[in-house]
C-alpha cells in the first residue's frame, strides 16, 4: 500500500506501484486536470507538482510519489485564481485548451521558483510543453505578466 498526499488530502494506492501517477490521478482519483498527450515526457500536458517541482506525471510512478505531496491543477488554488490562472484569463490564452493545464502548472512552478524570470528563462522553462494550437506568444506574455517587467 502506497501512501501519498494529493492536493492536501491523504491518499493510498494498492495497485501496481509502477503505475504512472498520471493514470492514478485520472483513473483512480478522477482528477482529470492532468492530460495525456504523449506518455513519454515529451509534451508536458500531464504536468503536476511533486514537492513543489513541476514533473511529468506520465513519467513519475505512484511508487516514486510515495510519502510525497502532489498538487494538480485542481489543487493549485482553492478558488482557481492563482496569479498564473488569472494571467491566462487576462490574455485569453487558450485555443483548444488541452495543453493549458500542463502549461499553467509548469508556469506556476517557474514563478514560484524564479519570481523575476527573464524572457529567456521563461522560454527555457516552458519549452518542454507543446501547444499544437500554437499559443506560445500568449503563454509567454501571460507568464511575463505574472513575473512583471512587461
Amino acid at each position: 500500500m502506497i501512501e501519498l498526499t494529493v492536493n492536501g488530502e491523504a491518499r493510498s494506492h494498492a495497485g501496481d506501484p509502477a503505475m504512472p501517477l498520471l493514470w492514478y490521478l485520472r483513473d483512480s482519483l478522477g482528477l482529470t486536470g492532468a492530460k495525456y498527450g504523449c506518455g513519454v515526457g515529451l509534451c508536458g500536458a500531464c504536468t503536476v507538482h511533486l514537492e513543489g517541482d513541476a514533473v511529468r506525471a506520465c513519467l513519475v510512478s505512484v511508487a516514486d510519489a510515495a510519502g510525497k505531496s502532489v498538487v494538480t491543477v485542481e489543487g493549485l488554488d482553492p478558488a482557481g485564481d492563482h496569479p498564473v490562472q488569472q494571467a491566462w484569463r487576462n490574455l485569453n490564452v487558450p485555443q483548444c485548451g488541452f495543453c493549458q493545464t500542463g502549461q499553467i502548472m509548469q508556469a506556476a512552478a517557474l514563478v514560484a521558483r524564479n519570481p523575476a524570470a527573464s524572457d529567456e528563462e521563461i522560454t527555457e522553462a516552458m519549452s518542454g510543453n507543446i501547444c499544437r494550437c500554437g499559443c506560445y506568444q500568449r503563454i509567454h506574455a501571460a507568464v511575463r505578466q505574472v513575473v512583471g517587467g512587461a
Binding site: C43, P94, Q95, C96, G97, F98, C99, Q100, C133, Q137
Partner: protein
Amino acid sequence: MLGYLKQEFAGREGPATPQATGAESPVVASLEKIDRRRFLQLTGAAGVFAVALRVLPAEAMEPYPTGAAGMPNGTVADPHVFVAIAEDGTVTIVAHRSEMGTGSRTSLPMVVADELEADWARVRVVQAPGDEPRYGNQDTDGSRSLRHFVQPMRQCGAALRAMLEAAAAAEWGVDPGRVRAVDHEVVLLGDTSRRLGYGALAAAAMAQPVPPFDSLRFKPESEFRYIGKGEIAIVDLRDITTGTASFGADPRLPGMKVAVVARPPVVGGTVKSYDASETLKLPGVERVVEIAGSTPPAKFAPLGGIAVVADNTWTALQGRNRLRIEWDDGPNGGYDSTAFEAAMRETARKPGKAIRTQGDPEAAFAAAERVVSAEYYQPHMIHAPMEPPVAIASVTADRAEVWAPVQSPYGTRQDVAELLGLPIEAVTVNVTLLGGGFGRKSKCDYVQEAALVSKAVGAPVKLQWTREDEIRHGFYHTTSVERIEAAIDGAGKVSGWRHRSVAPSILSTFAPDSGYQFPIEHGMGFVDMPFDIPNVACENGQAMAHTRIGWFRAVSNLPRAFAVQSFVGELAYALGRDPKEMLLELIGPARVIDPAAAGMPEDFWNYGEPYESFPIDTGRLRGVVELAAEKAGWGKALPEREGLGIAAHRSFVSYIASVVHVKVGEDGTISVPEVTTAVDCGFCINPERVASQMEGAAVMGMTLALHSAVTYARGRVEQSNFYDYEMARMDRYPGKVGVHIVEHPFSVHASGVGEPGLPPFAPALANAIFAATGKRLRDLPFGERIA
C-alpha cells in the same frame, strides 16, 4: 470536408435565394469604436496587433446565399431550437458546432446574443448533441462555422428579440412599434418607468409566432455590442484554466472500462493469428476483443485489430504490450515513401490529365525565350492534435450513447447507428471539447471502435488512443509533387504557366481509387491560380494511395501554396525582380476573375460557395500583399544571413499574406524572430479569435516547414511520438506574430479563418531563407538547420 464530399456525391442543390430584408438605417461601422485597451490586452501583446482601418461605406444588412444551402441538413435559425430564457433571465444558447480551438463555440452564440440584445454576462452556452435535422449542419471543418452560420444566428437572435418585444407590447397593450429591446430588457419608448426583463417575458415570448425573415429588424453594425469587437473571453476560459473543462477522456461513467487496441501496422492488413494468454494473466485485464478489419475504401471504418479491455488505462496498455499477434500485411505491405516520391517525380515530368486550359499554353512554351521550372515535394503528415483520439461508448442491445471529441457529431451518429444496426433515434452522440482537431476528428473510426468494444463487453468503454497510435494509424495528409514551369517571353513577361500536381487523393478513402484527384482537391490552390497569365495548363498525374488519405488543416492548399508561392520567388530571382513586385505583377490588376474565361473546369469547386457571393477578387489578394509588406517593413535593410520572404494565398474564400523574417545562423540554424500576417476574411466577427488563429497558424506553419514528415517503409509508418515527429516549441516558435485584419462591413461576406492562415507560412519561410542565404529549399520539411 465530409459535408463537401456528401455534397459532391449527392449532387448540389441550388443556393437559397436571398430574401428582401427590412433594413435598418445605414450606418458606418468602425473599429475605432471598440475598446482598444481591452482588445490589446486580450491579444496579449500590445503593439503587436493592429487593425487596418478603412473608411467604410454606409451599410444595411443584406442577406446573401452561401454554400450552407448545399450542405447536408443546411441551416436552422429557429430561436426555439437555439435559445432558452429562464425566469431569472439567464439566456442559454446552443452551440451546435464542435469546439476545437477556433472559438466558434463562443463566437456563434455571441452573434445570437448581440442581435438578441442579451447581456453576455447572463448568457450560458450549452453544446448540442449530434442532431442535424434539428440544428442544421454540424460538420465542423472546411473553415465554415462562422461563414455559414453568421446569418442564421443573426436571424435567430433578431427573431427572438422581436418575440420579446411582441410579448411586452401585448402585456402593456401597446403597439409593438412603441417598445424596444435593450440590454436584456424591453422598454416602453417614451416612458422609462415601463420595462420588463427578459426573464419575466420569456414564457410569453416563446409562445409568440416566430416572425418571418423579411419582417425582422436587424441591428445596424454601429449598434453591435459584441460582434466585430473582440472583447469577450472564450466561454470555456475559466474551466480550461482550472482543469474542469471536459475533453474526450474526461467523462466518467459507472462501471466504465478502458480499452486500447493493437492495430495492423499496414493499412488493409489483418490479424492472421494471435495469442492473448499473457495479456489475460495480468490482474485488471478483463477481456480481449477482436475487431474486424477493413479494406480500403472503407471511409471511417476501424482498421481492425485486438482490443484489450481493463479496469484502468495503465493495465490496458500493459496488457496490449503482452499480446503476440501475427499480421497479414495485405497489398500495402510494400509501401515505401522514398520510392513513391521518385515515382511521383517521374509522373510530374510527363503530361498529365488536363484539368484547366486557358489560352494556348503549348504555343506559349514553344515561343518562349526561356523556361523556368521547379519541382516541390511534400511528404505525408499527421495531425497530432494534443488530445489523441479517444471515445466513450455505452452500448446496450437497443441503444448506444457516445461521448467523444468529434468534428462531425451527426456523421458519427449515422456511422455508429449503421455499424450497430440501430435506428438513428437509438443513438446519442454527446460532444465534448476537442483537444485540437485539424481534420483528424472528422473521422470517427475511434468512436466506432469504442462502440464495438462496449457492445462486446456489455459495459461502458473508454477507448483511448496513445500518441503512437495517433501517429501510426491515422488518416494522412497526402504526399505530393508539384511541378511548375513558366514560359518567359522576349519582353521578360511570364507568357505561359504549366502546373502538374501529383498526389494520392482523399477520394481513395471513400471510393475505388483512380489515382486522380477530384474537384475539391483541384479547387485548393491549383486550378484557382489567380495570376494574370494568358496561357495556363493545370495537369493532374496519377498516384495511387497506399495508406488512408484524409484531410488535414488547409488540405491541398498546403503543397500548392508552397509550390506556387515559392515559384513566384524563383521567378523574381530569375528575372531580377523584387519578390513582392513580382507577386503583384503576376496577380495583375484588381479584378474579379471569370472562371470560365480563365479556362477553369466546369465543375470548378469554390469551397462549396456560390461564386457570386465569394468570387476570386484579385484586388483583395493584392490588398493583403500590400498590407503585410507595409507592416513588415518590406525592403528594409537587414543584417547578413537575415531575410524577409513573402507569400499570399486565397483559401476557404479568405485572403492571407504573410511576411516571414528569418535569421539563419552560421551553423545553418533557422530561426524566425517575426511573422507579419495580413488577413482579409471579409466581415470579421471576432477579431481577437482571428488573431489567435493566425498566431497559431504561424506556429503550426513552423512545425510543418521544419519538421513534419510521416515516412513509410514496408508499409509501416516509421515515426511514433514527439521525438521523431517533432513540434515547434517555445524556443523555436516565431518570436512575434503580428496580425493585421482588413476591416470590412457585413456586406463583404465573412469567410474562413481556421485553416487559411497556414498555407502561406512555408513558402514565405522558403523565400526568406533564399533572401538570407541564396539557398532555395524545395522539399519539405527543411529540418532545423540548412546545409
